[in-house]
């Protein structure tokens, strides 16, 4: 039997006019829901002089205020909740810009719609009931593992909940159980590919046929290499915890941008400086509105990802608008081994641990793995003249960073005033990775 083409064709191939109508109906309800249940939204809308009845359809979306990541921090932990906790069944979490992480809440309805989105991505990548899906994204607070895991269940695939790490076991399960679809970060996929090659596998003998790779930037050159090494077709997937997780948009076999699940999310492109909406086809910051998420519905959430939208018809038959790969950020967030890291988080740790915020971050890539080094100036009064004591300080700073960031950088303490300053301003980030085309 031939694999199905769509997971939910009634939405995925819905005529654009009908999608807009559906979006309008859902938006009107959503705005009323958040105005009545979330004091934050009510206050922001009142401030802007917008009432729920002013929103008559998605053409009125621009009237609503933006939500920024800092708003989530300011309203931590329950301030953005739009449903009673008793109706929530799960949290997921992502990094905040400083100490507090973002906590996203899900009702069962929210989980279902998120998993549907992931199921659509899997089917678009050619997965069906007969397939064996190896999910090698991290499981836990990170949305990667749970999202694709749920999507894979919905499609009816045999799901291997591998989580990340333990490469030897990953490869054993992949080859013994003949995994056909691999879901992980593109850098981990490349690492698995190199390991398989060393073990004597060729693209023909590797059982995989498709890969769904996301959570970090990758280039078309990365895609070409992954497809050649693993003997697969490599699909991009996009998402963020604030909006639900992976599957907000996904690639089809056309590989020409990611279809946004428009029955659940409305995308806008704005000028990041002025906040003004830009017409389709122009490059700007991506903003999402959740149309029917219940517990944690973001309205006009600024993703800080820079990209382009296209309504051009796609040969796959899906009518959902497509977004380009993010081409950069309108803030200073870094994505390191799939983890979002803000320089402000690093500064917060340094100040807390008694250091000055004189530091430099160096990112590179060795064997498809991100290296993450932080050089920190040692305050003169903290100097003690043994290598042992300096190594101990480096280790304890690394632990403090790991607690805050979720990944531990290699810390290098350096003498005061040795971190390069250009034109009096410190260069904070040196990124030697090639992340974008």
């Amino acid at each position: 039997m031939e694999n199905r083409k769509y997971y939910q064709p009634e939405f995925e191939t819905m005529p654009v006019e009908d999608i807009k109508k559906l979006q309008s109906e859902k938006l009107i309800k959503q705005v009323k829901h958040v105005y009545e249940n979330v004091p934050f939204y009510r206050a922001r809308m009142d401030e802007k002089g917008v009432k729920p009845e002013d929103i008559k359809g998605i053409e009125d979306l621009y009237k609503l205020p933006f939500v920024e990541k800092s708003d989530l921090r300011d309203n931590y932990p329950y301030g953005m909740l739009a449903k009673p906790l008793a109706d929530c069944v799960r949290i997921q979490s992502t990094s905040g810009t400083t100490g507090k992480r973002v906590i996203a809440y899900y009702t069962q309805y929210d989980i279902d719609l998120w998993e549907d989105c992931c199921a659509r991505a899997l089917v678009a990548a050619g997965a069906d009931k007969e397939d064996v899906v190896q999910v090698s994204y991290g499981y836990g607070l990170f949305t990667g593992g749970p999202g694709l895991n749920g999507g894979s269940h919905k499609v009816g695939c045999l799901t291997l909940p591998m989580s990340s790490g333990n490469t030897e076991r990953q490869l054993q399960f992949m080859t013994d159980l003949k995994a056909t679809v691999l879901c992980c970060t593109p850098s981990y996929a490349a690492y698995l590919g190199e390991s398989l090659k060393e073990m004597g596998y060729t693209p023909e003998t590797i059982p995989l046929k498709a890969g769904i790779f996301g959570a970090e930037p990758w280039t078309s050159e990365n895609r070409r290499q992954l497809e050649a090494t693993l003997g697969i077709k490599a699909y991009d997937i996009y998402g963020l915890t604030e909006i639900s997780g992976p599957g907000v948009s996904f690639e089809c076999a056309e590989q020409g941008g990611m279809h946004i699940n428009e029955d659940h999310f409305v995308a806008e492109i704005i000028n990041p400086e002025t906040g003004e909406p830009l017409p389709e086809g122009e490059k700007g910051e991506l903003v999402f509105t959740c149309l029917d998420k219940e517990a944690f519905p973001m309205l006009r959430y600024r993703t800080r990802d820079i990209c382009v939208l296209s309504r051009k018809p796609c040969s796959c038959g899906r009518t959902f608008i497509r977004m380009s790969k993010p081409m950069g950020r309108s803030d200073d967030m870094m994505i390191i081994r799939g983890v979002n890291v803000f320089p402000s988080q690093i500064e917060a740790v340094l100040l807390k641990e008694g250091y000055t915020p004189n530091y430099q971050i160096k990112l590179s890539r060795v064997n498809n793995n991100d290296t993450f080094d932080v050089f920190v100036e040692l305050p003169p009064e903290q100097f003690d003249d043994s290598v042992k004591s300096i190594s101990a300080k480096e280790a304890s700073l690394r632990d403090a960073m790991r607690n805050m960031l979720g990944i531990g950088p290699a810390i290098h303490l350096v003498p005061p005033k040795t971190i390069t300053r250009s034109e009096g301003k410190a260069v904070r980030i040196i990124d030697e990775r090639k992340l974008h085309d």
């Binding site: 040692l378 305050p379 003169p380 903290q382 100097f383 003690d384 003249d385 043994s386 290598v387 042992k388 300096i390 290098h412 303490l413 350096v414 003498p415 005061p416 005033k417 040795t418």
Partner: protein, 140 residues
């Protein structure tokens, strides 16, 4: 009894050591002994000088991370196994050595060393009790 040692935290790169020796030369500080511990990123230079307080002041004023700390200077018994004997005494008394290096002095015919241990006071007491000759700054 202990002598004062000056230490400086340095970048492991060309010219950083001479920057220090130049500063100290200008200030007419006389260096007696020096040892460098290095890693791939940084070095710690340890100096025995005639006027460590002045040297520290100059280095701090120039923005270096530097410190003065007491270290034990002692005469190594001039016979085979002389150093081994000292180390054995320390070990028996549960004293750990952080580092040790040779001390150059103007006293002829004798070998001297400097060390930092995890307990300077106890080190000196133990060595004195075992008739190991200790130096103070006047002898250096």
């Amino acid at each position: 009894m202990a002598i004062r040692q000056l230490s400086v935290f340095l970048e492991n790169k060309k010219g950083s050591l001479s920057e220090i020796t130049n500063l100290l030369a200008e200030a007419k500080v006389d260096l007696r002994s020096m040892c460098i511990a290095e890693t791939s990123n940084y070095g710690i230079v340890r100096i025995i000088a005639n006027d460590p307080a002045k040297a520290l002041e100059i280095l701090i004023a120039s923005g270096f991370a530097a410190q003065i700390r007491p270290v034990t200077a002692f005469a190594v018994p001039d016979q085979p196994g002389g150093l081994a004997q000292v180390l054995e005494i320390l070990e028996e008394n549960g004293i750990n050595i952080e580092y040790m290096y040779a001390l150059v002095t103007t006293i002829a015919d004798k070998a001297y060393a400097v060390m930092r241990t995890d307990d300077e006071e106890k080190t000196e007491a133990v060595l004195a009790k075992n008739n190991i000759e200790l130096l103070d700054e006047k002898n250096v």
